[in-house]
């Protein structure tokens, strides 16, 4: 009851005309930031903080605007994934897998609409979870030690086979490449690995640089090659025709993705990328052979989008209850809270109830605004596709270059990004999928860190890795994810063959 009262107060603050206006502005800015490759949500929010201060906004208004930016960026990331096969930020990577094929099949508008709805559902689930369960979840997050985190990342890698079907070995190769790139930089013990005495490499490879290089620049290179050859197929632009059945079809996927994403978001060491990744691979497992993932299955768009939005709202749980950021963006939001004279920590909910509930209310309102904003905007976004690629791709790449440079202010990153682009082009030629590379790069360092911490604590005794019930459970899940396809797969195939002898011959 008390909770409800606080939430009502929060709504009263968030619904004040001025706050609503800045919330809307934030939602639009956030969508743009998310959609532009090269400018991740964390940097977007950070860049807007001084703007909020120089406009002389009241603390709650500033916070509401930036929360809307945060939520908006998660919506925006999918747009370039679907339309251009270039993820706007790292959690939007999984949306490329089915979103882009949908667009190529002439269903760009549906893909955008479905992903907006799924994003909304994911955020809604997570925000409700945040309202009802925040204190319980904070305790849950504390039970995760290094061994549990390691098992969790292992679980993610075990389901890696769920990403791309054609050639599993190439998926493994790609993931290994990602893991290898992830070893660059100063490691846990202070030893330099593959830094070659170059200062810029000391902190390893920035995901944004790798993503923009591997996806955007290699896309441009591939385009140039096609153009020189037989010419590039333009994608048909369609009008949105979304039936209730379509929405109902993706509802279960969105719910599952949202819940999984939320759990990943709550854990401060996991993050939104893990949320969208697990959302996708688990969905593929759940749907099984009935799906056509990888070639434009709407459920493959809904699950990761619900996952990453669930995770981004879930990341607010450790931020608001423990004062520990669950992602790069929440770290920036936390910095903003500190500059508003709020001490991060377990007392935030009690001591600064007005601000905390204001944020939560702003998040709910922001999500409604974003849904309302995104469905009509689908038409405008889709129009982007009617811009000939020969203009569109160079512009996108240019924006990416400016974005990257505006964050790091060094030309080194631009050269590095170009090198990634060339590598991405070669990998595309070899038909090695790019998504697992980024996953290896994102998850590898965390996995290594937690393994080393676990072994440090136990003086090198490996038994610590399965010392708690939680860890054993995660190991069991990982093992099931790895082994089940080999047991269930043949059984399913046999059953299908029995049921439909003609169709199965092609398998």
């Amino acid at each position: 009851m008390e909770t409800l009262g606080f939430l009502m107060d929060g709504f009263a603050v968030a619904l004040a005309p001025e706050n609503l206006l800045f919330g809307l502005l934030g939602a639009i800015l956030g969508t743009l930031i998310g959609a532009l490759p090269g400018l991740g949500p964390a940097n977007g929010v950070a860049i807007l903080i001084p703007l909020a201060f120089s406009l002389g906004l009241a603390p709650e208004t500033a916070l509401i605007m930036l929360t809307a930016v945060y939520a908006g960026a998660m919506y925006g990331g999918r747009i370039s994934s679907i339309l251009l096969n270039i993820p706007g930020d790292e959690p939007a990577m999984m949306t490329c897998l089915d979103g882009y094929p949908m667009a190529r099949n002439g269903k760009a508008a549906e893909a955008l609409a479905i992903s907006a709805i799924a994003s909304f559902i994911g955020s809604l689930i997570a925000t409700i979870g945040l309202i009802l369960l925040a204190p319980v979840l904070a305790d849950f997050a504390l039970t995760f030690g290094p061994a549990e985190y390691f098992a969790l990342f292992l679980l993610a890698f075990a389901t890696l086979g769920g990403i791309t079907g054609k050639n599993p070995i190439k998926t493994v190769v790609a993931a290994c490449l990602g893991l290898m790139i992830a070893t660059m930089g100063i490691d846990n013990t202070g030893v330099q690995r593959y830094t070659f005495g170059i200062l810029e490499l000391y902190e390893g490879v920035d995901f944004i640089i790798a993503i923009v290089g591997l996806f955007a620049i290699s896309e441009l290179l591939t385009f140039i090659e096609n153009r020189a050859g037989k010419g590039h197929q333009t994608i048909k632009v369609n009008k949105l025709s979304l039936k209730w059945a379509d929405i109902r079809g993706i509802l279960p996927s969105s719910l599952r993705g949202g819940v999984l994403g939320f759990i990943a978001g709550v854990l401060p060491g996991a993050g939104a990328s893990l949320g969208s990744f697990i959302g996708y691979t688990m969905e593929k497992k759940a749907v099984g052979s009935k799906g056509y993932f990888g070639s434009g299955d709407p459920r493959g768009v809904a699950a990761p989008e619900a996952g990453n939005n669930g995770a981004s709202s879930g990341a607010l749980v450790p931020m608001l209850t423990l004062g520990v950021p669950g992602s790069g963006t929440t770290a920036v939001l936390l910095a903003l809270l500190i500059s508003l004279n709020i001490t991060p920590g377990p007392l935030m909910f009690t001591q600064n109830a007005d601000i905390v509930w204001g944020v939560i209310a702003a998040l709910l309102i922001g999500n409604f605004l974003l849904l309302l904003l995104n469905i009509p905007l689908v038409g405008i976004f889709v129009k982007l596709l009617s811009v000939p690629p020969m203009y569109l791709l160079p512009i996108v790449t240019m924006v990416a270059f400016v974005g990257i440079y505006s964050i790091s202010n060094t030309t080194f990153d631009l050269y590095f990004m170009t090198a990634f682009g060339v590598a991405g082009y070669v990998l595309r030629k070899l038909e090695i999928p790019l998504v697992p590379i980024i996953l290896g790069l994102l998850l590898g360092p965390e996995m290594e860190k937690n393994l080393r911490h676990a072994l440090d604590i136990s003086d090198g005794d490996w038994a610590i890795l399965w010392n708690s019930g939680l860890a054993i459970g995660l190991w069991a899940f990982a093992a099931a994810g790895l082994i089940l396809p080999y047991i269930v797969g043949p059984v399913l195939r046999r059953r299908m063959r029995a049921a439909n002898p003609e169709a199965a011959t092609g398998d």
Partner: protein
């Protein structure tokens, strides 16, 4: 040669000191030789949102309010190598620039002391001053058996690897060194055997301590405020020379428990080398004025910064001493070759 140099530095120091103390009256009689014109740039050697970024933006705002800069201060982020990329950039490309400030902290001196900036050293830039500090802290979960710092050190003395410390800096970084300084003071010899687990930030390390996965937290006072207030964390010692002010006065110091360890994480600035003396004096003076202002005191209290007022020659001497100390300690525990 050496003594001559010292005398000259002393002379300059006293000259600056006179300027500082006489302050406004001196300005009234002789026109200032240098005043910034146009754009003033503050380089934050990290991503937006971190400590250095905060130093630049907040100091920039207050400088502006106090009319110490003609227009605004533009914050430029240049992350990489814990400040190394920015340091190299300033040394090689920005020498002599009079309107460029670079945010720094104890993390910068630690890297310099351990020679992690590719052979660059502290004398390649001009050290201006500190505008506040965060003192070191060692803490355990509130359900831990350790009631004070000495009990923790006794356990370490018995078996150095029995306790795992977690902190937000990398191995060999400032948070790690604070533990080692305390342990050395407690007479523990096998320093390399002490376990230190580096986390992405102080917050992440704190969840591991409160969650019971590791024994002790090492970090800065501003990081533990939330968990200490909620009663989840027991602060065993603050590494300050005396008890802190206000609510923080409850935390015991290491010194009062018989271990003479002070760990200061200062926040401040350097600027490029080969800057005219007038320009350097201007910025030293500006930081001093800023520090004394109500506006800055407000920023300090709301961000958990603790008074630490040191500018000019005194600050430079402090920086060099800190680098010397950290170098010695790092060599002792085998982090670097002596």
């Amino acid at each position: 040669m050496n003594s001559h140099f010292t005398r000259q530095t002393l002379a300059t120091a006293s000259f600056i000191a006179v300027c500082l103390t006489t302050g406004a009256s001196a300005q009234a009689f002789e026109p200032q030789d240098f005043a910034p014109q146009g754009k003033v740039e503050c380089l934050a050697p990290a991503d937006p949102g971190g400590g250095w970024d905060f130093t630049c933006r907040s100091v920039g705002n207050v400088l502006e309010t106090l009319d110490l800069v003609p227009r605004s201060v533009q914050t430029v982020n240049m992350p990489g190598a814990s400040g190394g990329v920015a340091f190299a950039h300033v040394v090689s490309k920005r020498a002599g620039e009079k309107q460029l400030l670079i945010a720094a902290s104890t993390a910068t001196t630690t890297r310099l002391a351990q020679d992690q900036f590719n052979g660059m050293s502290a004398d390649m830039v001009t050290w201006l001053g500190a505008v506040g500090a965060d003192f070191g802290v060692i803490a355990v979960a509130s359900d831990s058996d350790f009631q004070n710092l000495n009990e923790l050190m006794d356990a370490l003395r018995e078996e150095p690897s029995s306790i795992s410390f977690g902190g937000g800096s990398s191995k060999g970084g400032w948070d790690h060194l604070k533990v080692l300084m305390a342990a050395r003071e407690a007479g523990i010899e096998d320093l390399p055997a002490i376990k230190y687990l580096p986390y992405t930030g102080g917050g992440e390390a704190l969840t591991q301590v409160v969650g019971g996965h590791i024994t002790a937290f090492t970090g800065d006072v501003s990081e533990v405020l939330g968990f200490a207030a909620s009663g989840d964390l027991r602060v065993l010692a603050v590494l300050a020379d005396q008890r802190l002010q206000g609510d923080l006065a409850d935390f015991p110091t290491a010194r009062e428990q018989g271990l003479d360890v002070v760990g200061v994480n200062w926040r401040g600035f350097y600027m490029p080398a080969d800057v005219p003396e007038e320009a350097e004096a201007y910025w030293v003076d500006a930081l001093d004025t800023l520090y004394a202002s109500d506006e800055w005191q407000q920023v300090m209290t709301s961000n958990g910064l603790i008074p630490f007022d040191m500018q000019g020659e005194e600050f430079e001497a402090f920086v060099n001493q800190q680098i010397e100390d950290i170098h010695q300690l790092s060599a002792e525990i085998g982090l670097i070759q002596p």
